[in-house]
Protein backbone atom coordinates (compact mmCIF):
# COMPACT_ATOMS: atom_id res chain seq x y z
CA UNK A 1 0.00 0.00 0.00
CA UNK A 2 2.80 2.44 0.69
CA UNK A 3 4.92 2.33 -2.42
CA UNK A 4 6.22 5.88 -2.76
CA UNK A 5 4.13 6.81 -5.80
CA UNK A 6 0.94 5.08 -4.83
CA UNK A 7 -2.05 7.27 -5.75
CA UNK A 8 -4.68 7.04 -3.07
CA UNK A 9 -6.94 9.61 -4.68
CA UNK A 10 -7.00 10.49 -8.32
CA UNK A 11 -9.46 12.93 -9.81
CA UNK A 12 -9.26 13.85 -13.47
CA UNK A 13 -11.08 16.56 -15.43
CA UNK A 14 -13.74 16.84 -12.78
CA UNK A 15 -16.70 19.12 -13.43
CA UNK A 16 -19.58 19.98 -11.17
CA UNK A 17 -22.36 22.53 -11.53
CA UNK A 18 -25.24 23.52 -9.31
CA UNK A 19 -27.91 24.67 -11.71
CA UNK A 20 -26.22 27.26 -13.90
CA UNK A 21 -23.28 27.80 -11.55
CA UNK A 22 -20.17 25.92 -12.60
CA UNK A 23 -18.42 25.22 -9.33
CA UNK A 24 -15.68 22.81 -10.45
CA UNK A 25 -14.24 23.27 -13.92
CA UNK A 26 -11.78 20.69 -15.10
CA UNK A 27 -10.14 19.82 -11.82
CA UNK A 28 -7.40 17.17 -11.84
CA UNK A 29 -5.72 16.15 -8.65
CA UNK A 30 -3.78 13.15 -7.38
CA UNK A 31 -2.75 12.51 -3.83
CA UNK A 32 -0.04 10.01 -2.99
CA UNK A 33 0.16 7.87 0.10
CA UNK A 34 1.73 9.82 2.92
CA UNK A 35 1.28 13.16 1.22
CA UNK A 36 -0.20 16.21 2.91
CA UNK A 37 -1.95 18.57 0.51
CA UNK A 38 -3.33 21.94 1.54
CA UNK A 39 -6.07 23.55 -0.53
CA UNK A 40 -6.37 27.32 -0.37
CA UNK A 41 -8.44 29.86 -2.25
CA UNK A 42 -11.06 32.52 -1.80
CA UNK A 43 -14.44 31.61 -0.44
CA UNK A 44 -16.78 30.29 -3.12
CA UNK A 45 -13.90 28.95 -5.22
CA UNK A 46 -15.17 25.36 -4.94
CA UNK A 47 -12.90 23.94 -2.22
CA UNK A 48 -15.71 22.39 -0.18
CA UNK A 49 -17.39 21.08 -3.31
CA UNK A 50 -14.15 19.38 -4.30
CA UNK A 51 -13.99 17.60 -0.92
CA UNK A 52 -17.68 16.78 -1.08
CA UNK A 53 -17.23 15.18 -4.50
CA UNK A 54 -14.17 13.25 -3.28
CA UNK A 55 -16.17 11.98 -0.29
CA UNK A 56 -19.21 11.04 -2.40
CA UNK A 57 -21.49 13.60 -0.73
CA UNK A 58 -21.91 15.16 -4.18
CA UNK A 59 -21.70 13.52 -7.57
CA UNK A 60 -19.46 14.78 -10.34
CA UNK A 61 -21.11 15.80 -13.61
CA UNK A 62 -18.12 14.66 -15.59
CA UNK A 63 -14.54 13.47 -15.17
CA UNK A 64 -13.29 10.52 -13.19
CA UNK A 65 -12.66 9.60 -9.60
CA UNK A 66 -10.42 6.73 -8.45
CA UNK A 67 -9.35 5.42 -5.08
CA UNK A 68 -6.25 3.18 -5.00
CA UNK A 69 -6.45 2.92 -8.77
CA UNK A 70 -9.99 1.53 -8.64
CA UNK A 71 -12.46 3.59 -10.63
CA UNK A 72 -15.30 4.93 -8.51
CA UNK A 73 -16.83 7.17 -11.12
CA UNK A 74 -16.05 7.67 -14.79
CA UNK A 75 -17.61 8.56 -18.11
CA UNK A 76 -19.05 5.69 -20.13
CA UNK A 77 -18.79 5.45 -23.93
CA UNK A 78 -21.86 7.70 -24.32
CA UNK A 79 -20.32 10.38 -22.15
CA UNK A 80 -22.58 9.67 -19.19
CA UNK A 81 -21.21 9.78 -15.68
CA UNK A 82 -21.36 6.31 -14.12
CA UNK A 83 -20.77 5.60 -10.45
CA UNK A 84 -19.90 2.20 -8.98
CA UNK A 85 -22.73 0.18 -7.41
CA UNK A 86 -24.12 1.29 -4.06
CA UNK A 87 -22.38 -1.65 -2.43
CA UNK A 88 -19.03 -0.79 -3.99
CA UNK A 89 -19.43 2.84 -2.92
CA UNK A 90 -20.07 1.69 0.64
CA UNK A 91 -16.70 -0.12 0.59
CA UNK A 92 -15.00 2.94 -0.95
CA UNK A 93 -16.36 5.10 1.89
CA UNK A 94 -14.20 3.13 4.31
CA UNK A 95 -11.09 4.42 2.54
CA UNK A 96 -11.57 8.04 3.55
CA UNK A 97 -12.60 10.17 6.47
CA UNK A 98 -13.94 13.73 6.47
CA UNK A 99 -13.61 16.29 9.23
CA UNK A 100 -16.26 18.97 8.90
CA UNK A 101 -15.95 22.64 9.67
CA UNK A 102 -18.77 22.43 12.23
CA UNK A 103 -17.80 18.97 13.61
CA UNK A 104 -21.18 17.30 13.11
CA UNK A 105 -20.74 15.08 16.14
CA UNK A 106 -23.78 13.04 17.12
CA UNK A 107 -25.09 15.02 20.09
CA UNK A 108 -27.01 12.09 21.62
CA UNK A 109 -23.89 9.90 21.78
CA UNK A 110 -21.17 10.23 24.40
CA UNK A 111 -17.63 10.98 23.22
CA UNK A 112 -16.79 7.27 23.41
CA UNK A 113 -19.91 6.22 21.52
CA UNK A 114 -19.29 8.82 18.80
CA UNK A 115 -15.91 7.22 18.18
CA UNK A 116 -16.82 3.54 18.63
CA UNK A 117 -20.29 3.32 17.09
CA UNK A 118 -19.17 3.43 13.42
CA UNK A 119 -16.41 0.78 13.71
CA UNK A 120 -18.76 -1.48 15.70
CA UNK A 121 -21.93 -1.04 13.66
CA UNK A 122 -20.59 -0.23 10.21
CA UNK A 123 -17.39 -2.25 10.11
CA UNK A 124 -18.77 -4.90 12.51
CA UNK A 125 -15.48 -4.99 14.35
CA UNK A 126 -14.82 -6.58 17.70
CA UNK A 127 -16.08 -4.27 20.47
CA UNK A 128 -13.23 -4.82 22.86
CA UNK A 129 -10.66 -4.06 20.21
CA UNK A 130 -12.55 -0.95 19.09
CA UNK A 131 -12.76 0.35 22.67
CA UNK A 132 -9.04 -0.14 23.20
CA UNK A 133 -8.24 1.69 19.97
CA UNK A 134 -10.66 4.47 20.90
CA UNK A 135 -8.91 4.91 24.26
CA UNK A 136 -5.60 5.23 22.48
CA UNK A 137 -7.09 7.76 20.05
CA UNK A 138 -8.55 9.82 22.88
CA UNK A 139 -5.16 9.90 24.53
CA UNK A 140 -3.56 11.00 21.29
CA UNK A 141 -6.14 13.78 20.99
CA UNK A 142 -5.49 14.89 24.58
CA UNK A 143 -9.01 13.87 25.63
CA UNK A 144 -8.33 11.31 28.33
CA UNK A 145 -11.09 11.24 30.91
CA UNK A 146 -13.67 12.64 28.45
CA UNK A 147 -14.99 9.21 27.40
CA UNK A 148 -18.37 9.68 29.03
CA UNK A 149 -18.78 13.39 28.35
CA UNK A 150 -21.51 14.46 25.94
CA UNK A 151 -20.45 16.65 22.99
CA UNK A 152 -22.45 19.58 24.40
CA UNK A 153 -20.21 19.57 27.47
CA UNK A 154 -17.05 20.12 25.41
CA UNK A 155 -15.42 23.22 23.97
CA UNK A 156 -15.38 23.62 20.18
CA UNK A 157 -11.74 22.59 20.06
CA UNK A 158 -12.46 19.44 22.05
CA UNK A 159 -15.45 18.62 19.85
CA UNK A 160 -13.31 18.97 16.75
CA UNK A 161 -10.72 16.65 18.26
CA UNK A 162 -13.44 14.09 18.96
CA UNK A 163 -14.56 14.35 15.35
CA UNK A 164 -10.99 13.74 14.18
CA UNK A 165 -10.79 10.70 16.47
CA UNK A 166 -14.14 9.51 15.10
CA UNK A 167 -12.80 9.69 11.55
CA UNK A 168 -9.53 7.99 12.49
CA UNK A 169 -11.29 5.14 14.31
CA UNK A 170 -12.35 3.72 10.93
CA UNK A 171 -8.67 3.55 9.87
CA UNK A 172 -9.08 5.55 6.67
CA UNK A 173 -6.32 5.70 4.08
CA UNK A 174 -6.89 9.39 3.54
CA UNK A 175 -8.37 12.09 5.72
CA UNK A 176 -10.04 15.23 4.40
CA UNK A 177 -10.42 18.39 6.46
CA UNK A 178 -12.78 21.18 5.42
CA UNK A 179 -11.62 24.30 7.25
CA UNK A 180 -11.29 22.42 10.54
CA UNK A 181 -10.56 25.55 12.55
CA UNK A 182 -12.94 28.05 10.95
CA UNK A 183 -15.77 27.48 13.43
CA UNK A 184 -13.44 27.87 16.42
CA UNK A 185 -12.46 30.84 18.52
CA UNK A 186 -8.94 31.94 17.52
CA UNK A 187 -7.43 30.74 20.80
CA UNK A 188 -8.70 27.20 20.12
CA UNK A 189 -7.29 26.77 16.60
CA UNK A 190 -3.82 25.90 17.94
CA UNK A 191 -4.92 22.63 19.52
CA UNK A 192 -6.42 21.40 16.23
CA UNK A 193 -3.40 22.42 14.22
CA UNK A 194 -1.20 20.58 16.72
CA UNK A 195 -3.20 17.39 16.22
CA UNK A 196 -3.00 17.66 12.43
CA UNK A 197 0.74 18.34 12.65
CA UNK A 198 1.16 15.16 14.70
CA UNK A 199 -0.79 13.20 12.09
CA UNK A 200 1.40 14.65 9.34
CA UNK A 201 4.48 13.52 11.26
CA UNK A 202 3.04 9.98 11.17
CA UNK A 203 2.68 10.28 7.39
CA UNK A 204 -1.10 10.23 7.47
CA UNK A 205 -2.36 11.09 3.99
CA UNK A 206 -4.38 14.29 4.25
CA UNK A 207 -6.07 16.94 2.15
CA UNK A 208 -6.70 20.05 4.20
CA UNK A 209 -8.77 23.04 3.12
CA UNK A 210 -7.54 25.90 5.27
CA UNK A 211 -7.11 29.63 5.57
CA UNK A 212 -4.18 29.28 7.94
CA UNK A 213 -1.36 30.09 5.52
CA UNK A 214 1.48 29.65 7.99
CA UNK A 215 0.14 26.29 8.97
CA UNK A 216 -0.32 25.21 5.34
CA UNK A 217 3.17 26.32 4.49
CA UNK A 218 4.67 24.41 7.39
CA UNK A 219 2.67 21.16 7.31
CA UNK A 220 1.80 20.61 3.64
CA UNK A 221 4.02 18.93 1.09
CA UNK A 222 2.03 20.63 -1.64
CA UNK A 223 -0.34 23.57 -1.76
CA UNK A 224 -3.14 23.90 -4.27
CA UNK A 225 -4.62 27.30 -5.01
CA UNK A 226 -8.18 27.22 -6.32
CA UNK A 227 -10.13 30.07 -7.80
CA UNK A 228 -13.49 30.05 -9.58
CA UNK A 229 -13.52 26.29 -9.89
CA UNK A 230 -10.03 25.93 -11.35
CA UNK A 231 -6.76 24.84 -9.83
CA UNK A 232 -4.88 27.99 -10.74
CA UNK A 233 -1.53 27.08 -9.30
CA UNK A 234 0.02 24.28 -7.29
CA UNK A 235 3.44 23.53 -5.99
CA UNK A 236 5.58 22.85 -2.98
CA UNK A 237 4.47 24.82 0.01
CA UNK A 238 7.46 27.16 0.01
CA UNK A 239 7.59 28.00 -3.69
CA UNK A 240 3.88 28.62 -3.89
CA UNK A 241 3.76 30.97 -0.92
CA UNK A 242 7.12 32.66 -1.34
CA UNK A 243 7.13 32.85 -5.10
CA UNK A 244 3.57 32.96 -6.44
CA UNK A 245 3.27 33.11 -10.22
CA UNK A 246 -0.36 34.00 -10.92
CA UNK A 247 -1.78 37.43 -10.25
CA UNK A 248 -4.82 35.97 -8.54
CA UNK A 249 -2.70 33.99 -6.12
CA UNK A 250 -0.58 37.07 -5.38
CA UNK A 251 -3.72 39.08 -4.73
CA UNK A 252 -5.12 36.30 -2.52
CA UNK A 253 -1.93 36.06 -0.45
CA UNK A 254 -1.70 39.84 -0.08
CA UNK A 255 -5.25 40.02 1.14
CA UNK A 256 -4.56 37.36 3.79
CA UNK A 257 -1.60 39.28 5.13
CA UNK A 258 -3.49 42.51 5.68
Amino acid sequence: MSSPEHNILRITNARKSFGDTEVLRDISLSVNAGEVVAVIGPSGSGKSTLLRCATLLERLDSGSLCYDGEPVAQLDEHGCMVYASAKALQAIRMKFGLVFQDFNLFPHFSVMRNITDPPINVQKRNKQEVYEEAQALLKKMGLQGKEDAMPCELSGGQQQRVSIARALALNPEILYFDEPTSALDPELTGEILRVIRALAAERMTMVIVTHEMNFAREVADRIIFMDEGYIVEQGSAKTLVDNPQHERLKAFLNKLET
Binding site: R93, F100, D102, F106, H108, P118, V122, C152
Partner: protein, 217 residues
Protein backbone atom coordinates in the same frame (compact mmCIF):
# COMPACT_ATOMS: atom_id res chain seq x y z
CA UNK B 1 -79.70 2.96 41.10
CA UNK B 2 -77.62 1.31 43.79
CA UNK B 3 -74.36 2.94 44.80
CA UNK B 4 -72.55 -0.30 43.96
CA UNK B 5 -74.05 -0.24 40.45
CA UNK B 6 -72.96 3.36 40.00
CA UNK B 7 -69.42 2.54 41.04
CA UNK B 8 -69.37 -0.47 38.75
CA UNK B 9 -70.64 1.55 35.77
CA UNK B 10 -68.10 4.30 36.30
CA UNK B 11 -65.35 1.72 36.86
CA UNK B 12 -65.98 -0.08 33.57
CA UNK B 13 -66.34 3.31 31.89
CA UNK B 14 -62.93 4.35 33.17
CA UNK B 15 -61.34 1.10 31.96
CA UNK B 16 -62.88 1.53 28.51
CA UNK B 17 -61.63 5.13 28.28
CA UNK B 18 -58.11 4.05 29.21
CA UNK B 19 -58.31 1.25 26.63
CA UNK B 20 -59.33 3.64 23.86
CA UNK B 21 -56.45 5.91 24.85
CA UNK B 22 -53.80 3.16 24.98
CA UNK B 23 -54.89 1.32 21.83
CA UNK B 24 -54.97 4.59 19.92
CA UNK B 25 -51.40 5.40 20.97
CA UNK B 26 -50.16 1.89 20.22
CA UNK B 27 -51.71 2.09 16.75
CA UNK B 28 -51.20 5.73 15.85
CA UNK B 29 -47.60 6.23 17.02
CA UNK B 30 -46.10 3.70 14.57
CA UNK B 31 -48.68 4.37 11.87
CA UNK B 32 -47.97 8.10 12.11
CA UNK B 33 -44.28 7.42 11.46
CA UNK B 34 -45.12 5.38 8.37
CA UNK B 35 -47.47 8.12 7.19
CA UNK B 36 -44.72 10.71 7.64
CA UNK B 37 -42.45 8.58 5.42
CA UNK B 38 -45.19 8.54 2.80
CA UNK B 39 -45.58 12.29 3.15
CA UNK B 40 -41.84 12.75 2.49
CA UNK B 41 -41.63 10.03 -0.17
CA UNK B 42 -39.92 10.59 -3.49
CA UNK B 43 -42.93 9.01 -5.20
CA UNK B 44 -45.15 11.91 -6.19
CA UNK B 45 -48.34 9.81 -6.27
CA UNK B 46 -47.78 8.42 -2.79
CA UNK B 47 -46.83 11.84 -1.46
CA UNK B 48 -50.02 13.43 -2.77
CA UNK B 49 -52.20 10.58 -1.63
CA UNK B 50 -50.80 10.85 1.89
CA UNK B 51 -51.17 14.61 1.81
CA UNK B 52 -54.84 14.26 0.93
CA UNK B 53 -55.34 11.74 3.73
CA UNK B 54 -53.69 14.04 6.28
CA UNK B 55 -55.65 17.07 5.18
CA UNK B 56 -58.95 15.15 5.33
CA UNK B 57 -58.18 13.84 8.80
CA UNK B 58 -57.19 17.24 10.10
CA UNK B 59 -59.76 19.22 8.16
CA UNK B 60 -62.94 17.40 9.21
CA UNK B 61 -64.38 16.78 12.69
CA UNK B 62 -63.31 13.60 14.45
CA UNK B 63 -66.94 13.02 15.36
CA UNK B 64 -67.85 12.88 11.67
CA UNK B 65 -65.01 10.45 11.01
CA UNK B 66 -66.32 8.25 13.82
CA UNK B 67 -69.74 8.08 12.19
CA UNK B 68 -68.32 7.37 8.75
CA UNK B 69 -66.18 4.52 10.04
CA UNK B 70 -69.11 3.15 12.05
CA UNK B 71 -71.84 3.40 9.42
CA UNK B 72 -69.61 3.07 6.33
CA UNK B 73 -69.62 -0.74 6.17
CA UNK B 74 -73.43 -0.83 6.18
CA UNK B 75 -74.31 2.15 3.99
CA UNK B 76 -71.44 1.84 1.54
CA UNK B 77 -70.75 -1.89 1.42
CA UNK B 78 -74.01 -3.29 2.75
CA UNK B 79 -72.20 -5.25 5.45
CA UNK B 80 -73.98 -5.67 8.79
CA UNK B 81 -71.43 -5.37 11.57
CA UNK B 82 -71.84 -6.97 15.01
CA UNK B 83 -72.49 -5.05 18.22
CA UNK B 84 -68.84 -5.03 19.23
CA UNK B 85 -68.04 -3.10 16.07
CA UNK B 86 -68.76 0.09 18.05
CA UNK B 87 -65.50 -0.27 19.92
CA UNK B 88 -63.51 -1.36 16.85
CA UNK B 89 -64.91 1.51 14.80
CA UNK B 90 -63.91 3.92 17.54
CA UNK B 91 -60.34 2.61 17.51
CA UNK B 92 -60.11 2.68 13.71
CA UNK B 93 -61.30 6.28 13.55
CA UNK B 94 -59.09 7.41 16.44
CA UNK B 95 -55.99 5.67 15.08
CA UNK B 96 -56.48 7.04 11.56
CA UNK B 97 -57.13 10.53 12.90
CA UNK B 98 -54.27 10.62 15.39
CA UNK B 99 -51.81 9.02 12.96
CA UNK B 100 -52.39 12.02 10.70
CA UNK B 101 -51.59 14.48 13.49
CA UNK B 102 -48.62 12.45 14.71
CA UNK B 103 -47.25 12.13 11.18
CA UNK B 104 -47.01 15.90 10.85
CA UNK B 105 -45.19 16.08 14.17
CA UNK B 106 -42.74 13.38 13.09
CA UNK B 107 -42.24 15.13 9.77
CA UNK B 108 -41.49 18.48 11.35
CA UNK B 109 -39.02 16.77 13.68
CA UNK B 110 -37.32 14.85 10.89
CA UNK B 111 -37.14 17.91 8.65
CA UNK B 112 -35.68 19.99 11.47
CA UNK B 113 -32.61 17.75 11.69
CA UNK B 114 -29.51 19.49 10.33
CA UNK B 115 -28.17 18.13 7.06
CA UNK B 116 -24.75 17.75 8.67
CA UNK B 117 -26.01 14.83 10.75
CA UNK B 118 -26.98 12.90 7.62
CA UNK B 119 -23.73 13.84 5.90
CA UNK B 120 -21.54 12.81 8.84
CA UNK B 121 -23.38 9.48 9.06
CA UNK B 122 -23.08 8.88 5.31
CA UNK B 123 -19.35 9.56 5.24
CA UNK B 124 -18.88 7.26 8.25
CA UNK B 125 -20.51 4.51 6.21
CA UNK B 126 -23.87 4.15 7.97
CA UNK B 127 -26.55 2.76 5.67
CA UNK B 128 -29.73 4.78 5.19
CA UNK B 129 -31.60 2.59 7.66
CA UNK B 130 -28.81 2.75 10.23
CA UNK B 131 -28.63 6.51 9.82
CA UNK B 132 -32.31 6.84 10.55
CA UNK B 133 -32.48 4.33 13.38
CA UNK B 134 -29.23 5.19 15.18
CA UNK B 135 -28.66 8.85 14.43
CA UNK B 136 -31.77 10.68 13.27
CA UNK B 137 -34.76 9.12 15.01
CA UNK B 138 -33.42 9.24 18.60
CA UNK B 139 -32.79 12.96 18.17
CA UNK B 140 -36.19 13.49 16.54
CA UNK B 141 -37.89 11.89 19.55
CA UNK B 142 -36.31 14.44 21.87
CA UNK B 143 -37.39 17.30 19.61
CA UNK B 144 -41.03 16.21 19.32
CA UNK B 145 -41.80 15.50 22.97
CA UNK B 146 -43.54 18.87 23.59
CA UNK B 147 -45.98 18.70 20.63
CA UNK B 148 -46.56 15.00 21.32
CA UNK B 149 -47.49 15.85 24.91
CA UNK B 150 -50.09 18.30 23.64
CA UNK B 151 -51.64 15.75 21.30
CA UNK B 152 -51.69 13.09 23.98
CA UNK B 153 -53.53 15.37 26.38
CA UNK B 154 -56.06 16.17 23.66
CA UNK B 155 -56.48 12.45 23.06
CA UNK B 156 -57.45 11.85 26.70
CA UNK B 157 -60.31 14.32 26.31
CA UNK B 158 -61.24 13.10 22.83
CA UNK B 159 -61.91 9.58 24.14
CA UNK B 160 -65.24 10.99 25.39
CA UNK B 161 -66.32 11.28 21.73
CA UNK B 162 -66.74 7.50 21.67
CA UNK B 163 -69.98 8.32 23.47
CA UNK B 164 -71.50 9.18 20.10
CA UNK B 165 -71.18 5.55 18.98
CA UNK B 166 -72.57 4.29 22.28
CA UNK B 167 -69.32 2.88 23.53
CA UNK B 168 -69.60 2.45 27.28
CA UNK B 169 -66.70 4.72 28.20
CA UNK B 170 -66.55 7.17 31.07
CA UNK B 171 -68.70 9.92 29.64
CA UNK B 172 -71.39 7.54 28.34
CA UNK B 173 -71.70 5.93 31.76
CA UNK B 174 -71.72 9.22 33.64
CA UNK B 175 -74.47 10.54 31.40
CA UNK B 176 -76.60 7.45 31.97
CA UNK B 177 -76.18 7.79 35.73
CA UNK B 178 -76.97 11.52 35.70
CA UNK B 179 -80.18 10.80 33.73
CA UNK B 180 -81.34 8.23 36.26
CA UNK B 181 -80.19 10.01 39.45
CA UNK B 182 -81.25 13.55 38.73
CA UNK B 183 -78.01 15.09 40.00
CA UNK B 184 -74.63 15.93 38.54
CA UNK B 185 -72.39 13.92 40.87
CA UNK B 186 -71.50 11.40 38.13
CA UNK B 187 -70.40 14.25 35.85
CA UNK B 188 -68.30 15.62 38.67
CA UNK B 189 -66.66 12.22 39.09
CA UNK B 190 -66.10 11.97 35.32
CA UNK B 191 -64.50 15.42 35.36
CA UNK B 192 -62.18 14.41 38.16
CA UNK B 193 -61.34 11.23 36.23
CA UNK B 194 -60.32 13.07 33.03
CA UNK B 195 -58.40 15.64 35.01
CA UNK B 196 -56.53 12.98 36.98
CA UNK B 197 -55.88 10.96 33.83
CA UNK B 198 -54.26 13.97 32.20
CA UNK B 199 -52.22 14.69 35.32
CA UNK B 200 -50.78 11.20 35.02
CA UNK B 201 -50.11 11.70 31.30
CA UNK B 202 -48.39 15.03 31.99
CA UNK B 203 -46.30 13.42 34.73
CA UNK B 204 -45.19 10.58 32.46
CA UNK B 205 -44.33 12.95 29.60
CA UNK B 206 -42.30 15.07 31.99
CA UNK B 207 -40.37 11.96 32.98
CA UNK B 208 -39.77 11.15 29.33
CA UNK B 209 -38.53 14.69 28.74
CA UNK B 210 -36.16 14.39 31.69
CA UNK B 211 -34.88 11.07 30.38
CA UNK B 212 -33.82 12.92 27.21
CA UNK B 213 -32.22 15.82 29.08
CA UNK B 214 -28.83 14.08 29.24
CA UNK B 215 -27.76 16.08 26.19
CA UNK B 216 -28.68 19.22 24.36
CA UNK B 217 -27.68 20.26 20.88
Amino acid sequence: MELSTIIELLGTGAITSVQIFLFTLVGALPLGLLVSFGRMSKLLVLRWFVRLYISLMRGTPLILQLFIVYFGPYYVLGIQMGADYRFTATLIAFILNYAAYFSEIYRSGIESMPRGQYEAATVLGYSRTQTFVRIIFPQVVKRIIPPMTNETITLVKDTALAFTLGVAEMFTQARAIVASQGNLIAFLIAGIFYYGFNAVVAFIMERVEKAFAYYHE
